[in-house]
């Protein structure tokens, strides 16, 4: 582990910094509600499959019924959420994360007097 030589106070400092708190809030405010939403949507589908057979067997067009449509909609919602998350992360998360990482790397490269920490391995 390359980090053992790195004092962890530094991380506490970063963790409590305004910028990191903002980053973390943004990230958590996206991933947790989204996870709950898609999980409930999926659970609804499974519950309907188990307990709402009459509804699921309603035919929409030809032999295509509600069950099949809802199944395909699970696919659609998965694709949309994945795409939307990657757009959100690239716009809202990556720039702040990159900035914090850049600052930490720069700080580690210029050790303060008496600071014996080693430079962490750059991301390979």
């Amino acid at each position: 582990m390359t980090t053992e030589a790195t004092p962890t106070d530094k991380y506490l400092e970063v963790q409590q910094s305004e910028e990191f708190v903002r980053l973390r809030r943004k990230l958590r405010n996206f991933i947790f509600p989204t996870t709950i939403a898609f999980f409930l949507w999926y659970a609804l589908y499974v519950l309907l499959s188990a307990y709402a057979r009459d509804f699921m067997s309603l035919k929409i067009v030809g032999n295509i019924n509600v069950a099949l449509l809802l199944g395909v909609l699970q696919f659609v919602s998965t694709f949309v959420i994945a795409w939307y998350y990657s757009r959100f992360a690239a716009r809202e998360i990556d720039p702040i994360a990159d900035k914090i990482r850049g600052e930490m790397t720069a700080a580690a490269a210029t050790p303060e007097p008496g600071d014996t920490e080693t430079k962490p391995e750059a991301a390979k």
Partner: protein
């Protein structure tokens, strides 16, 4: 139609057999070539465990697809749809939606804070030895469940391919001997891939296999759809009619949540459906061989990209399986499928044969397409088996040997040497275990592996990443609690004993009514983790700060 294809199967057996064996040998030779080439470039432990972290998002996305679209997806789901109609589709949905858990909650954080294995993240802020031991145990258990499923698929395929009828022989072997011989051959090959090629070789094998599988599934899907003039409704209608079950074939309830006059039976059957649903969606993010894939790319952004590719590829493939499953129901028929394999594992290759006969010039065409699809299926199995063996042997070497036995003092060379030995041993164990369980559907077996992963690994991973108060005791409780409850419930379920399709059909020690343990064991795993953490005073805010900062920003990532 069905009788035609059966007769044709008889006549074309030997063409098909020769061709399959040839194609399979070509695939094996080609991938062995890649493996040897990759082995020359494998110099450090990072090369061996993580393929040098040099793969692109697309490459790793394909490789994730290769690791994930196992025999369960190709043979198992197609078979379940062919026999039970709509209920098989439930697997596809669960297997796909599960990727959102991996994408949103696990992939990037894991990539940023870990190094080679799942345990790197679990043990990050905990006492290393107990947590790594637990993670190693659960990695091996999950992988072995998954391995058994793949080997069962291989066994089912071989009896179809070699066309060995009861009493007949091939190279002096009867059907059962040939199955065992195949399992041993597949096992031996995977050991070679993993031991020689490491992660780099295995990743390229996954990529090649993913292309082959997508190509094969696409061709079959197009042929099925063309047969029905691209009218989905008439495909479904024909499938329903041929199944003999009418409209019910297109609705949930033939296999899961079966309604009967017995209220208790109906209740348990519906619980089983919910249990399966929850295991499928929560299992993926706890599968060790999927988690280690995130380490093969340079950064967490590329890990994210690779998951996006994987979702696209896997989702498309599962849409194909709809056409394959319903196509097999319509064009092969459940009678012909169950005659070949009771659990439906051979529906897709049988469909290939029927399509080849109709569209590619009669019996020879049927033999050719069967051979191609069978070779694809073998490639699929081989690649997944290699991925699983790699993940579990990495965990033995990196988590157990280097951190627990050698207390972090092992040299890289030593670690890789142990990983290779472990691959050998795990491969051998899997070969032996797979010789049982032949009567079970492959997708169903994989669903058990998902339940075990979701119970034993996921709670520990999520608590570890997001809960400050989590600690060593919590991690150990979560892993052992979730893991043992899942495994014990399976052991006392109708899957192992007390039903006609059980592994031991002649004995009965079952008392747990459900086939899939997820609905009990997953919440139990989460509860154990919570209680374990609360019962211990250990807490290290500094280490949590480090994990959180690193997992979110990617600072100091390996």
């Amino acid at each position: 139609m069905q009788i035609d294809s059966l007769l044709a199967a008889e006549a074309s057996t030997s063409t098909s057999r020769t061709l399959t064996i040839t194609l399979f040998l070509v695939f094996v030779a080609f991938t062995l070539g890649i493996t040897v080439w990759a082995s020359r470039q494998t110099k450090t432990a990072t090369d061996y465990y993580a393929g040098g972290r040099s793969f692109s998002g697309f490459q790793n996305g394909m490789a994730i697809g290769g690791d994930y679209m196992s025999a369960a997806s190709f043979l198992g789901i197609a078979g379940l749809i062919a026999l039970y109609g709509y209920d098989g589709f439930l697997y596809s949905i669960g297997f796909l939606v599960a990727w959102l858990v991996a994408l949103l909650l696990v992939a990037e954080f894991l990539r940023n804070s870990g190094r080679y294995t799942m345990a790197d993240v679990l043990a990050f802020r905990m006492r290393q030895r107990p947590v790594r031991t637990a993670a190693s145990v659960s990695t091996i258990v999950v992988s072995i469940f998954y391995l058994i499923a793949q080997m069962v698929g291989a066994g089912a395929l071989v009896s179809l391919l070699l066309g060995i009828k009861p009493g007949a022989t091939f190279l002096g072997m009867d059907a059962d001997t040939a199955k065992v011989a195949t399992i041993i051959l597949v096992g031996a090959l995977m050991i070679v891939y993993v031991v020689v090629g490491g992660m780099k070789g295995t990743t390229y094998v996954q990529i090649v296999k993913a292309f082959m599988l997508m190509g094969g599934a696409l061709i079959m899907t197009l042929l099925v759809l063309a047969h029905y003039k691209f009218n989905l409704s008439s495909l479904l209608g024909d499938a329903a009619e041929q199944s003999g079950k009418g409209a019910a074939f297109l609705e949930p309830g033939l296999r899961y949540g079966v309604e009967s006059d017995d209220a208790a039976k109906t209740f348990y059957s519906k619980m089983d459906l919910l249990s399966l649903g929850i295991a499928l969606v929560l299992g993926t993010a706890g599968l060790p061989h999927i988690l280690t894939r995130f380490y093969t790319v340079p950064t967490s952004k590329i890990a994210r990209k690779s998951v996006l590719w994987a979702i696209g590829i896997i989702g498309t493939f599962y849409l194909f399986t709809l056409a394959l499953g319903f196509g097999a129901a319509a064009l092969v028929g459940s009678k012909a499928i169950t005659e070949q394999d009771k659990a439906g594992n051979t529906a897709a290759p049988q469909l290939a044969q029927a399509l080849g006969i109709d569209y590619l010039g009669g019996e020879t065409g049927g033999a050719v397409l069967l051979a191609v699809i069978a070779a694809v299926a073998f490639a699929t199995i081989l690649a997944v088996v290699a991925g699983l063996t790699l993940a579990s042997s990495s965990s033995v070497a990196h988590d157990f040997y280097a951190s627990v036995v050698k207390r972090g003092q092992a040299s890289e060379r030593d670690e890789v040497r142990v990983a290779r030995i472990a691959a050998f041993v795990i491969g051998a164990v899997a070969i032996v275990l797979s010789i049982f369980a032949q009567s079970l559907n492959v997708a169903f077996l994989v669903a058990l592996a998902f339940a075990v992963a979701a119970s034993g690994n996921l709670p520990a991973i999520l608590y570890s990443l997001f809960w400050k108060g989590f600690n060593t005791s919590g991690a150990i409780w979560a892993i052992y609690g979730g893991l043992s409850s899942a495994v014990l419930l399976v052991f006392f379920s109708p899957v192992v004993s007390g039903s006609p399709t059980a592994m031991f059909p002649d004995s009965d020690w079952h008392w747990f009514p459900l086939n899939n343990p997820g609905i009990i064991s997953i919440p139990f795993g989460f509860l154990c983790g919570y209680l374990g953490a609360k019962f211990s005073k250990e807490s290290d805010p500094n280490k949590y700060a480090e994990l959180e900062v690193r997992s979110v920003t990617g600072y100091g990532a390996h």
